[in-house]
Every structure is written in C-alpha cells, then in structure tokens.
Point group: C2
Chain length 492, copies 2
C-alpha cells in the first residue's frame, strides 16, 4: 500500500510538509473518506524513498490536528470524527453564495484613492506633484542616527509598545519646530504622531464623521480627503476657492460641520488664505460649532518670503485641527506625520489612534527626533528650499519660452508644485498630457493628480506640475519635449 | 517710542521670532488696536539692543501676514484690515460653547483600550501577558540587515510611497512562512502588511461593521477587539468558550454576522479549537453568510507538539480572515502584522488600508523581509521556543510548590502566557495581585489584563500570567514572593 505523491526534492517546502499537505487536502476534498486506511509510515517511507522519520513527522502533524488516527495493531485511518460533518460546498455553490453575500456587497463600496505608487510605471521625466527629490535625502546623517539608536536600548524599544501618541522626544521636537517655522506655539502633549497626514485625516474622520455629517472641502481640492471622509459616511460639500483661498463667506450658518482647508498653499491653486478670511473662518467655526482641519502639507517649503504663520496659530477658540506631514520634506517612505489638537480633543484623538494601531514604529520616530533635535531638519529645509527655488525658476522660464507667455502659473511662491493654465490656442491639457507621456514626460491634469472639483472647472486647460524631484537640466529637457509635442496638439 | 519685550537671549527661539510673537499676540488679544503705531525698526533695535536686521525680519514677517503695514513717511501701524473683525470670544464664552458642542459630545465616546505602555510604572517582576523577552531580541542580525538596507536604494525608498498593501518581498516571505509553520498556503497578493494585528482588526471593522452589525467574540475573550468593533458601532455578542474552544453550536443561524476567534491558543484560557468545531465553524459561516476572524496571535510559539494548522488552512469557502502579528515573536515596537484575506475581500481591504495610511514605513518592512528570507526568523523562533519552554516548566513547578497543587493551569502547550485558577482557600485573585504588586510582582486578573467576560465568570479566582519576558531565576524569585504574600491573603 502506498500513496502516489510527486515529491519536490529541490523546492522550499520540506518533504514532511508536502506529505502532510497532500493527505490533508485529499481528506478535505473528500477523496479520502472517513475510515480510509493509509499506508504505515514504514511503507510510505520505502515507496517514496524517504527517511521513515519524515513520514512519521507528517503523520504526527496530521494526528495532532485530528485528521488521522492510529489504531493499535490495525493501522492508520482517516478519522471518524469527520463522519458527521457537512461536505464543504462545491466551488460553484460557493461562488453563487458569494455573489449573494450581503457582507460582500457592503465592502464593494471601498475604492483605492489616487496616489503615486511605485507599482505604476512612470515616464523618465515625471512632474507628479508632492514628491521630494530622493537625491537630496540626508542619507549619511540618517545612517549615523540609525546606528546610534540601534546601539542604545534598541532591543527594549523594539520589543515593547511605545507611547501610543508617539515618541515624546519627537513630539517635543515637532513642538519646537512649529513654534519656530509655523508661528504655532503648542505643548508636546497636544501633538499625536501619525502614519503620515493620511492617518491624521482618518483620526479626524473617526472622531467626527458619520452618515449625518456634512464635510466641506475646497473646490478645487485634494480628492483623497473627500474619499476618506466619504468612506466614513460624510456628505461632501464643496466650497469655492478664489485668489485669496477658501471663500469663507460661502460656508453655511447651520452648524456642527467640518471644513478642510490648505490655507498656506491651496491645493492645487497655490492661493494663500488672506488674514481677513483666516479670522473670519475661525469666527465662523466658533459661531456655528464647527471644526476646521488645516492641512499644512508643504508650507515649510517657501521661497520668496518667510513662511506664513499657520492658521492654527491665530486660533483662540480651539477650533483648528492642524495636520502636518514629513512626506514632502523628508519622504513618504518614513510614513510619519502629526496632528496638533485643541486641548478639548486630545484624549479622544489618542484613544482613536490607540484603537487604530497602538502607536507608531519605534525606530523611524527615534531617528527623526534626533534629526530634528540636532538641527539637521532645519539645515535640510534650507538645503531643499534653495534647490527647489532654483528648479522653480528654471521651470517658470522654460514654460514661458516653451509654451509661450500666455501660460498662467499660480502657486509658485512655495511648495513642490505649480498650477499651470494653458491658453485656448494650445489645445486641451489632457491631449498635451497624453502626447507628453509618449515623449517620456509625465504631465497631469488636475483630475489625474487626484484633484476633486466640479465638472469643467478648469475647462481642460490646467496641469498640476510637481517639479521638486527633477533637477534643473532635467526640467529644461522635459519642457523642450513638451514644446515639441505642442505643435501637434495645437494643430490637431 | 519702544516696546517692552523681555527678550530671552539664551533660549531656543530667535530674537526676531520673539519680537514677532510678542507683537502678533498683542494684536490678536486686542492690546494693540487697529491703527496703533509701532516703533520704527531703528528705534526698536536701539531700545532692545539688537541688530536692526533682526527687527526688520520680525516686521517683514508681520507685514507678510497682514498684521502690520508701513505707510511711507508716516511709520508702521497695526493693519486696518482687522477693523471689521469680530473680537475673539472671551475664554469663558468659549468654554460654555465647548460644553454645548454637539461635535465634542460625539467624540467623548472614545476611550483608550487597555494595553501595556511604558508610561505605566511596572513592578520589577512583571507577568504582563504577551510580552517577548527583549534580551532575546536578535540585535546583531537586525543591525547588519539595517545597514545593508541603508546601503542600497535607501534614499529612493525613504522618499517615495511603497506598495500600499506592503513590501512585496515581505509578503512573499510571510506566505512561505505561513505554508511552512501554519499549514496555510496562500499567494503573497492575499496578504496585506499592517501596523500590528491591531490595524488588521480595524480594516475588518471598516469593511464590515456599522451600527446594525452584530459581532461575536469569545467569552472570555480579548477585550481590545470588542473595543475596536464597538467604536465602529457594532453590537457585541459574547459566545461561550469551553475546553474545546469556541462553542460553535451557540452561534445564531440568523446570518450576516462576524465572529472573532483565537482557535490555536484561546485568549485567555489557552483552549485549542477542536477539528470538529473548526469545520462546523466554517460550515456555519458559509451557511449564514458570515465571516470568521482568526487571530493567530501567538500560535507560532508552541512547545510540545508541531504547531496546529491555522483554521484558515481548512477554509474552502473563503470565509476566514486571518490576522497575524510579529509583536509576540519579534516585538511590538516594529508595529508589523498582516492580514490574509479570501480573494473576494482583497481589493476592498487594500482600499481601506490605503485610505487609512497609504501603506507602511519602508525600512522596518525591508529588514523583516530579509530577516525572514535569510532564515533568521525560523532560527529565532526555535531559540525563543526553547527559552520559553524552559521558563514555562519553571513556572509550572514554582506554582505547584509555591501556591500548592490545587492551582489549575491551562494553556501551557504554547504561547506566552498561562491561565491560572486558584482554589478557594487561597482567597480572591485580585487581593493576591494587589499584595504581589506591593512585593514587586505584577500579577493580573483577567479583567486587569484586558479580558472581556460576563461578570463573575472567573469568580475572582483567575490570573493571566505572561512569563516569556522573565528568566528562569526571575520566575522562581517572583513566585517565592507571591507565596510569601499568600499566607496573608488566605488568612485575611
């Protein structure tokens, strides 16, 4: 008596596991029924030319799990305990059941938001927005700080949970940084470290949003925010944006709502929310029992003036929730951001953070805390500001030369992108983007860049151009290629 | 004309920032009204004994933000634009408004779940459950792999988003590990890397749970699961547990529900779900359109037999969602775990993961992938199994000697903890835990360990004892101390 098992002797799976799996699968699919007799381990070992111990290990495993049993003097059999069980549903029946599953219909509402992913093939010169230049990553300092942290209490820190609201040294460093660069003076215990600003958005969503929540976002605005809030059941209400940022006077007087805004560098237009509107916005929130989410995603990178103080810095009414990110200055691969909360929200937000992930990984937080405390973050900010300003200057010149002086650019005072509006004679922006893609240049219309807006807002005339990750000569070469496409587009 | 500013010359905040902040705060609190004249930068510099450039930087900042304006020939004044604004609410009014805030009442429902935190002071010998021994952390290998990863494409990986479902090499390594150790043969694309098993639970909660969802958990069971699911609106329905694990026959025939179970090593009793019940559970889920969440939190650590195959390994109906964690074998400080999903749930779960955090940090994932691929994880598992088995043996002996042979222990076949039931003559478990705490030994009743159960299930006779983080001699000394407390407790 033997079993015909096609053992793979050079694979990753051990022989005993292959035997285990073979027998188990045949019991589960009904090929070996209850009471079916198996070969002895000696017979199996001989027939398969394996060590007897290997066969015994496989049988031990199957016995422990209740698939087989050995009756003294009689042999080894598929277990009686399986007798009374229902035969598993046929694959076809299972498919029908899945199609009718109420729970599966429920999950179908989730869709992955737009974002850059390395699984997507990108062209050689890519103007995707919000991406820092990897070539400016502070690698040697980061490596030194990593080694220092690994030399000191690493085992204890890897082994245990940390502070659920984040590494305290990092929160202290963030608080100092906010005071210095963003005019925002807060205590470290008002700060929660998050997995990028994205987790911060989710904490806000979980705190406030349910099926009866109206959530106001800038129009045009950052689509991923709308996706997150819709996933918690919110109804999204767009609020217009003009040259002074969010039109605060368009917000409703009916209360208990939330508004998301990017006051320092509106996404995607680059508008700066005026001081008059900042105060009006906070007054509105206080008057109507609303909260404001200030997403300060790239305001630390500013070229021609000192950075504007954050909206949260003038909030005396505890109405502003501030979202910060390290994705634009350091990089998205460290997945670190933070929330700054009014005192009245701190404990509930820490609870939501704890429920969600029990805090952040230790090592990256510890390194970033040292990076900030030792002054490297400030130095790195200066370095990237200088580099990105030069790139912006090259881009503006190249656009004026290559696409002509009628191209309108906004948002060039800072950040990692500008918004370009093309004059009608250059043809549709989407057609230009398609041609450019073929020529090895990634250009993106607002829609392609994940901007949410009402239909035809930009009239297919706009491009969101991130330039920070491209060096000056690369920008020049890329825009030359776009200019070469242009004749075709404008003509066609 | 001057301003009396008490400048801190040896602090962290620059002089211009102190000036900026002083003036800004006085404008915002109404001390300096619209039209108020400020000293010139020359006067200010002289009176404060600072460089004129410092004063000019502060004024530039205030001007850019719209607080002040310079009128040629007349001087510098607080801006007219502030004239028409509402005076910010008094602190007292703001407090009243906050008390009446509908949104703030809404957030008050969130409470932080029980878990070990380094902010809590722990006694010298601590039997908190689920904690690995930091002294066994594979520090030198981890350090080498860290350096290797930092030497290779680190800048690019830190700068950009990774795969939202997790590092693919890590998912491949997890798939191989699951086949080898858990009898669970899955494709890497069914795996999503999460911030600990906790984030996996949240993804399940977001996929399925709303206000009309009934969520079944084991009673006694892991309280944090109930907290997470309640935070998404679920009604928690406890299901009894006996010596064969979850009592599957107690699950209702009305459908579309979810059940959470720990089949390999029930938390906290240590019961193993029998094969008959495993098949019955899957049949129940298929019959009633339900899903099963299998939390396999510590089953890789097993002493006296090969590890049981995972419940998910016998699921032919795509009804089991498998939760894995590296917190128990490597440590909670890396915040890595994973979900293994039926094919029908993969895309929705990746969408929820992306909405939540856009993926995990790069470095820890890359190191762990190498750690697994190079065989270190298997070796580490063998090492900790050997160490923890010896500790368990010492604990069982020490308990029998120190507390007497009537102490009943369950769950000792594996994992990082046992459940002890004290005989009545030893007095209440909570009293013993309190005395032990004073004697420097952390003992925890199920309630203190975050177990959720119906009142009086354990009759104040049980302790959840995690022993993995204590060495053999420490366990002996700790139990001696407990034994010394015992006379007092039993007598009192």
């Amino acid at each position: 008596m033997s079993l015909l098992i096609d053992l793979q002797r050079d694979g990753d799976v051990t022989l005993q596991e292959q035997i285990y799996r073979f027998i188990r699968d045949r019991i589960l699919d009904g090929s070996y029924r209850n009471g079916f007799q198996l070969p002895s381990t000696r017979e199996l070992a001989q027939s398969l030319k394996i060590a007897r111990n290997t066969a015994m290990l496989a049988y031990d495993w199957l016995t422990t799990e209740g698939y087989i049993e050995t009756r003294r003097g009689a042999g080894t059999f598929v277990c009686e305990t399986l007798t009374d069980m229902e035969v598993p549903a046929e694959p076809r029946q299972a498919a029908v059941r899945r199609r009718n599953s109420a729970l599966l219909r429920k999950v179908a509402r989730y869709e992955t938001p737009v974002l850059i992913s390395r699984t997507t093939k990108r062209p050689r010169f890519d103007f995707w927005y919000g991406k820092p230049d990897a070539r400016l990553f502070p690698g040697s300092v980061w490596r030194r700080l990593t080694l220092e942290n690994l030399s000191h209490a690493a085992a204890v820190n890897f082994s245990d949970y940390g502070d659920q609201a984040g590494n305290f040294a990092l929160r202290q460093a963030i608080a100092e940084h906010l005071g210095r660069v963003r005019g925002l003076f807060v205590r470290p215990d008002q700060i929660i470290v998050t997995a990028g600003a994205q987790e911060g958005l989710n904490i806000v969503g979980r705190l406030f949003v349910s099926a009866d929540t109206t959530f106001h976002i800038e129009d045009p605005g950052y689509g991923a925010v709308a996706s997150v809030m819709e996933s918690y059941g919110a109804e999204i209400a767009p609020v217009p944006v003009d040259g002074d940022g969010l039109c605060v006077e368009c917000l409703p007087e009916s209360g208990q709502t939330l508004v998301y805004t990017t006051p320092s560098h509106q996404f995607p237009t680059g508008a700066v929310l005026s001081l008059a509107r900042r105060q009006a916005l906070i007054d509105w929130a206080e008057r109507t029992d609303a909260f404001i989410i200030e997403d300060d995603y790239d305001s630390e990178i500013v070229f021609d003036r000192p950075p504007l103080a954050a909206l949260a810095s003038i909030d005396r009414c505890e109405r502003v929730i501030y979202l910060g990110s390290f994705s634009k200055v350091i990089g998205a691969g460290i997945r670190l951001g933070y929330l700054v909360l009014p005192a009245s929200l701190v404990s509930a937000a820490i609870a939501v953070k704890s429920l969600g992930s029990y805090g952040n990984p230790w090592l990256d937080q510890a390194i970033l805390a040292d990076f900030m405390r030792e002054g490297h973050f400030q130095a790195h900010l200066r370095r990237v500001r200088t580099a990105y300003r030069a790139r912006r200057d090259v881009l503006l010149r190249a656009l004026a030369v290559g696409l002509g002086p009628e191209v309108e650019v906004s948002g060039q005072e800072g950040g990692l992108h500008v918004l370009c509006r093309l004059p009608p004679h250059l043809g549709p922006a989407s057609a230009l983007a398609a041609k450019a893609w073929e020529a090895g240049v990634g250009l993106y219309t607002p829609e392609q860049a994940g901007v949410r807006t009402h239909a035809a807002h930009f009239g297919d005339r706009a491009l969101v151009m991130g330039y920070a990750a491209l060096q000056e000569d690369e920008i020049e070469r890329a825009i030359s290629r776009v200019a070469a496409c242009l004749d075709g587009t404008a003509a066609g």
